[in-house]
């Protein structure tokens, strides 16, 4: 490996501050996921019954939405800065796919709520609503970050091209974190106790 590649490997993509934030967020999610696993271990029957009332198809569609959003972000990051239009298109597609997630998740919440399940319907429903809503808020935050980066690129407010690239990488890193959490949350809630 040459010196340049090794230097590139030593540097984290995007802003270091974003990575500190991501690590802190992952710590919160880790505790929440452990809580789900612990509660499921203690009350397997409640969890089995609860999982039956969820909509795994929505969960699957949301998984595709988030992963495709990630792919579009990677596309945007990898574009040459000579073609800013492609970067903007990639980010727009990410925002669109994020909106798909928000829509499906909202429908799912609505149908569960209509069926009479709410925060106080037991440990399973509390953990389902609380943890997925906490994740939902992170998707929204991820969309805000992507939107801000896109606006700045469109308006050309990044002082240098390196700053623009760092902004893109930071947004991408955050989005991937949200993705990663969903990839654990989805099977843990929808599939393991099915």
């Amino acid at each position: 490996m040459n010196a340049i590649n090794s230097a590139a490997l030593k540097k984290v993509p995007g802003d270091l501050a974003m990575w500190v934030f991501i690590m802190a967020e992952l710590a919160v999610f880790a505790l929440l996921l452990i809580s789900i696993a612990l509660a499921a271990h203690q009350q397997p029957e409640t969890f089995r019954a609860g999982v039956q009332t969820l909509h795994p198809i929505f969960g699957l569609l949301n998984t595709f939405a988030l992963l495709s959003g990630s792919a579009c972000l990677v596309y945007a990051v990898e574009q040459s800065h000579d073609y800013p239009q492609r970067i903007l298109q990639g980010l727009f597609a990410t925002l669109l796919l994020g909106s798909v997630y928000v829509l499906f998740k909202s429908i799912e919440y609505y149908s569960l709520w209509q069926a009479g399940y709410h925060l106080r319907s037991g440990t399973f429903y509390f953990l389902y609503y609380f943890v997925t809503f906490f994740h939902f808020m992170h998707v929204l935050l991820g969309m805000v970050i992507v939107f801000v980066v896109r606006q700045r690129i469109q308006q050309g407010t990044y002082p240098q091209i390196e700053d623009q690239h760092a902004g893109l990488e930071s947004a991408g890193s955050y989005w991937h974190m949200v993705d990663l959490v969903w990839l654990v949350l989805f099977p843990l809630l929808y599939l393991v106790y099915l």
Binding site: A17, V20, F21, A24, V28, L32, L119, L127, F130
Partner: protein, 467 residues
């Protein structure tokens, strides 16, 4: 001092220190009453001494925050304070109200004070930390509004920095959450539920913003590190403080009649609460490491660094010790809570106010910093106060562990009663009292450093004249 209106911080700092001394005197009275039950009875009963101890703490910290704000906002905004006169008027209103309230606590029984001040027409009294008569609470709201108006107008017409934005957000939050002090429902569960919106969302929420902003200001001034770097850290710290702190309120909702799901929320988010304090410690050390200049005010830097360490230990580690629901089931309201409360308040808030006083006071006297002799004594006082507060914390933790083992863990019929348990830990309380006396000596040393600073002012580097 770059702007003349910064001098308005001076009376706030002086009054804060006077109340600090009063707080510690009553703390020592309380420490004595733990081991000699009728000490100063009936003149100063335990409940009155405790009320004065905690109320003076809150009020002197508020004076400290206001003084800090009046000092740093003109420098951050690069313009004079909107109305120094208003700041002076509010100082006297607040100071007179504070003194009258303390006299009221000490001069008449609490029930009589409630009657005199018309509590029956708008009952808000009788709750821990919020014991002030309703009329005092209304006074606090008026002072807060005037203060926010003054600071807000200054920020509006001056430079907007992340430091003053975070500070004003914290101060607005402080004023907004205090309004819940006026909500006093009949249901004890609801009462406690919203009482924590004042107490918890102050100390583990918006006060952390104020702490972060003051710390960032001191570090920018003493290290010369780029504002951009400091601001990035500040954003991260406040984001984590709010994410963990707001939902961390849940750890107060265990076993008080609130829904069961708070056991989960409180436990998980409390486990995250040490993070912002840890980041604050990393932040301070990283700024010192990257410093571009050696500021001669070593004492202010020592207070700031010490603040982050003690806050991490007190608010972070000692907080986490007893905020997991299965642990809190046994430790709820025991001496372990007292241990956490002492170190957290001292580390996070007492030390940051003393840090800004240490930085600002010499400058308000026309010096860049105090003489090396005065700073040596001040730094010695930091060590004495920190070590004695650590001793108090460790001893209260030991008392709490014994209390839990004798009173909480054994089965019904085997568990000892509250008072018998207290007798069993009296030797620890004696040791705590001795540590408290050392803490008092630390304050005496701290005050003595002001005398030395005055005597040796000719040895201190002078400051450029204000504009």
């Amino acid at each position: 001092m770059k702007y003349q209106s910064q001098a308005v911080a001076k009376p706030y700092f002086v009054f804060a220190l006077i109340l600090f001394i009063a707080q510690i005197v009553f703390g020592l009275v309380l420490g004595m009453q733990y081991v000699v039950g009728d000490f100063l009875f009936p003149e100063i009963p335990f409940n009155v001494a405790r009320m004065v101890h905690t109320n003076t703490l809150i009020v002197w910290l508020l004076f400290g925050f206001m003084g800090a704000t009046y000092y740093l906002v003109p420098e951050e905004t690069q313009c004079e304070l909107y109305s120094p006169k208003l700041a002076w008027i509010l100082f006297w209103v607040f100071a007179v109200a504070a003194v009258l309230t303390v006299i009221g606590y000490l001069a008449v029984p609490y029930a009589v004070l409630a009657k005199i001040t018309g509590n029956e027409y708008f009952p808000t009294m009788g709750r821990e930390f919020l014991e002030q008569p309703t009329i005092t609470k209304i006074g606090i709201v008026i002072v807060c509004l005037g203060f926010l108006y003054n600071v807000g107008m200054t920020i509006l017409r001056g430079r907007k920095t992340v430091v003053n934005m975070v500070l004003i957000t914290g101060l607005i939050g402080l004023a907004v959450f205090f309004l819940f002090a006026f909500y006093n429902p009949v249901s004890l569960t609801l009462d406690k539920y919203f009482w924590w919106w004042v107490v918890h969302l102050w100390v583990e929420g918006v006060w952390e913003l104020i702490l972060g902003a003051i710390l960032a200001f001191i570090l920018i001034k003493t290290t010369g590190v780029d504002r951009e770097v400091v601001e990035k850290w500040l954003y991260l710290i406040i984001a984590m403080a709010l994410i963990s702190g707001i939902l961390g309120t849940g750890h107060h909702y265990f076993f008080i009649g609130a829904p069961e799901y708070w056991l989960w929320i409180g436990s998980v988010f409390s486990a995250i609460e040490p993070l912002p304090f840890f980041m604050m410690m990393l932040f301070a050390y990283s700024m010192i490491k990257q410093r571009r200049r050696d500021h001669p005010n070593k004492a202010a830097v020592a207070w700031a660094l010490g603040c982050t360490i003690m806050a991490f230990l007190g608010a972070g580690v000692w907080g986490f010790l007893h905020t997991l629901a299965p642990v809190n089931y046994y430790t709820h309201g025991s001496q372990i809570t007292a241990a956490h409360g002492h170190l957290a308040f001292f580390g996070a808030y007492v030390m940051i106010v003393l840090a800004i006083i240490s930085y600002a006071w010499p400058q308000m006297k026309g010096r860049l910093c105090n003489s090396p002799q005065a700073q040596r004594v001040e730094i010695l006082s930091i060590w004495v106060m920190c070590l004695s507060m650590l001793a108090i914390t460790l001893l209260l933790t030991a008392a709490g562990v014994v209390q839990v083992m004798l009173q909480r863990m054994p089965a019904d019929g085997v568990a000892l009663s509250y008072m018998i348990t207290q007798d069993a830990i009296s030797s620890i309380y004696w040791a705590r009292l001795i540590s408290g006396v050392f803490f008092g000596l630390g304050i005496a040393l701290y005050l003595y450093s002001f005398v030395i600073a005055q005597r040796t002012h000719h040895l201190a580097p002078a400051l450029e004249q204000p504009r």
